[in-house]
Every structure is written in C-alpha cells, then in structure tokens.
Symmetry: C2
C-alpha cells in the first residue's frame, strides 16, 4: 500500500468512526425521547423520533457502503465486522424506539399503564421550567455541566424558537425555557431547586483555576 | 364483573406493571453493561448480559401469558396492547445488547475501533476505585445519591464478594470497591474527586431537615 492509499484508508476510518459514534449517541437518546413523547403526549417529539430513526437507518447503510468500499486487509476485517455489529445493534435499538412511539396512536386516557411504568422506573422523565430567578438562565448546558451537577440529562427543550432535541452543550438556557430531562428522583429534586431559583447554581470550578 | 373478579384483575395488573417496569429498567442497564464488557474485556460482565437477556425474554413471555389470561374488557385491551408493545421494545433492546457482547469473541487488540467509539461518545464508561480516604466509603448508593450528586450512574461494581450488576440503592460502598459508571466526562471528573478523597462528599440534605 502506498502513502496515498494509506491516507485514503485513514480518512475512511475517521468517517466510519464518526458515523458510528453518532449512531451510538443517537440510539441512546432516541429511546428516552420515545418514552418522553408518551409522557407528554407529544406528536412533535414522536415525529423527531421517526426522523432520528430514519437518520440512524441511513447512517447504517452509509457505514456498510464505506466498509465494503474500503477494501481492507484481513487484519482490519475483524474490526470492521465489529463496526457493522455495533451499527446493527444501534439500528435495532432505534427500531425499538419506533415501536414505543407507535403507542401515541392510542389516546392518552387509554394507556394509563404506560405512563405509570415510566413514572415508576429507575430513570424518570420530567419537565421543568426555568424561572426568571434561576441563575441557570443565560448559561450554556456545557457551562452549567447540567448532567454532572444534577444527575439529570436534558433530552429535549422548548425555548422561544421551538423544540430542540438532544441539545448540544453550546445551547444556551434562558428564563422561561422548558426542559425535559431524565434521571433519578433525587437528581430531579436537585435540578428543581436550581431551576426555580431557590438555590444558587453550583458552577463547576474552571480547570484553569485549579492550576 | 363482581368484586372478586375485579380484585383478581387488579392483582394481574399490578404484576404486569411490576414486570414491565423491571423489563424497562433492565433494558436500559443491559446496553450499558454490554458496552462496559467490551471496554474492560470482561467475560463476567458478558455472561451477566446473557443472563439478563434471558431474564428479559422470560419476563416478556410471562407478561404475554398474564395479559391473555386476564381476559379483559375491550376498553382495557388497548392499554394491554401497549404493554405488549413496550415489552417487545425492551426485548429488542436486550437483543441489541446481546449482539454487542458477541464482539468479546474478537480479541481486544483486533477491535481498537470499538473502544475508541465508546470513549468518544457522549455517555462514557469508566472504572474508578474508592480510596480509604474517601468519605463515600461506608454509605449506601441511596445515602450518597450518587447519580444526583455526580451525574454518573453505577452500572456495575466489584467488592470483596465479587461483581454486582446494576446495584440497588441499598448496596453499601466500601473502600477498595471498583465502580463501573457511565455518564459525561464532567460527571466523571466530579466523581473522581470524591472517590479519591480529595473532596468531601456533599451529602444531600435530609428531607426532614428542611421542614
């Protein structure tokens, strides 16, 4: 293999790796979002689940194509088989999310059981509004390190522009935003104190200050 | 329906609900555990994944039997269809976990990609040891409210008696225990300070003290 071919193969790898990381992340978020759509009876969220399901499906085919086109050595082939296997697992999980959101077609009052189960499980899904008094407002999700500080993960949020699903760390939280989070009851109680403004946010120490 | 039949049907419901909640919780834990088995090349964990996969399969069949035997009214039937659908989704997720652990058959050095992907994804999996200096030692997971306080979830732990998977809240953490957690990098950094004893644990305020 000459240098050109080698760098070509490395580029392939980077893309397959990026795609697979995205698939794995999406497959974890989509199940939460599917349950949240039932909890809040949200057709919007269910549509997003279908859209993500399609994206995951497309990524799976893209990965397959790239793996085949890469025409790799025998040694790499086992790793690539592993990649296909994880991709197929992520796809299967997203299909499960698709099954869950189908329940939205059953009117909410005819599926009391389902909401009870989501309420009773270890990982709960809850909605909370950011108060004007909360010092969370005006900061990004990364600045707040919401998950590390409260143990809850923002799976969707609604701000003045509309819904954002599985928001990135650089999304800014503002007063009046509704967050849909999942986590334990303890974590939710903690978040509630901050979101209401009853407790000041404990900003994580900046790494530079420690040095 | 007379009172006897009604209470019989309520008992059925309670059991179906309990089973389905357990299935949902297990289906969320099993995927984490499957990725952790690859990260730590652990045959033990992979065996536990297979065991949980079997349990979930059995619960699915038990739920189906109970739903059919309950012989319900038309109104309840839609809710029960929903139950079967969530059960089937949970089962599908556990099958995906089974696919992931199959990769353990590929020697670790022949699947470098997979570990990189788990490392690069939003939800990371990490192992940490509880130091003698840590005041986490001697407290239960619930007392510490680990998830709410650090944003990391304990998916497995190894203590002097062996491995515990998806540990309950009443499990006590002791010096020398190894915890396998998942969560964000920020959450892990936070946990590390507590586990090493560099920072005192911030015990959640007891609810009674607030009143």
């Amino acid at each position: 293999m000459n240098d050109d071919e080698h760098s070509h193969s490395n580029r392939m790898e980077a893309t397959v790796r990026e795609l697979l990381t995205e698939m794995k992340d999406a497959s974890e978020a989509i199940v939460d979002l599917a349950y949240a759509s039932l909890m809040y009876n949200s057709r919007d969220m269910a549509d997003k689940v279908h859209e993500m399901d399609d994206d995951i499906d497309n990524m799976k085919f893209e990965i397959r194509t790239k793996v085949i086109m890469a025409g790799r050595s025998k040694e790499d082939a086992r790793d690539m088989t592993g990649v296909l296997q994880v991709a197929s697992a992520a796809d299967r999980i997203s299909e499960a999310a698709g099954e869950i959101v189908k329940l939205l077609d059953v009117p909410k009052e005819e599926r009391p059981f389902i909401n009870e189960i989501i309420n009773e499980s270890d990982e709960k899904i809850m909605m909370i509004r950011i108060s004007r008094r909360s010092d969370m407002a005006g900061n990004t999700i990364d600045q707040l390190a919401v998950e590390a500080s409260t143990g809850t993960k923002i799976i969707a949020m609604k701000n003045r522009y509309g819904w954002i699903y599985n928001p990135d760390g650089d999304v800014k939280i503002r007063a009046g935003d509704d967050l849909i989070v999942n986590g334990s009851q303890d974590g939710f109680n903690r978040l509630k104190k901050f979101a209401s403004g009853d407790c000041p946010w404990e900003f994580p120490e900046a790494e530079s200050e420690e040095e």
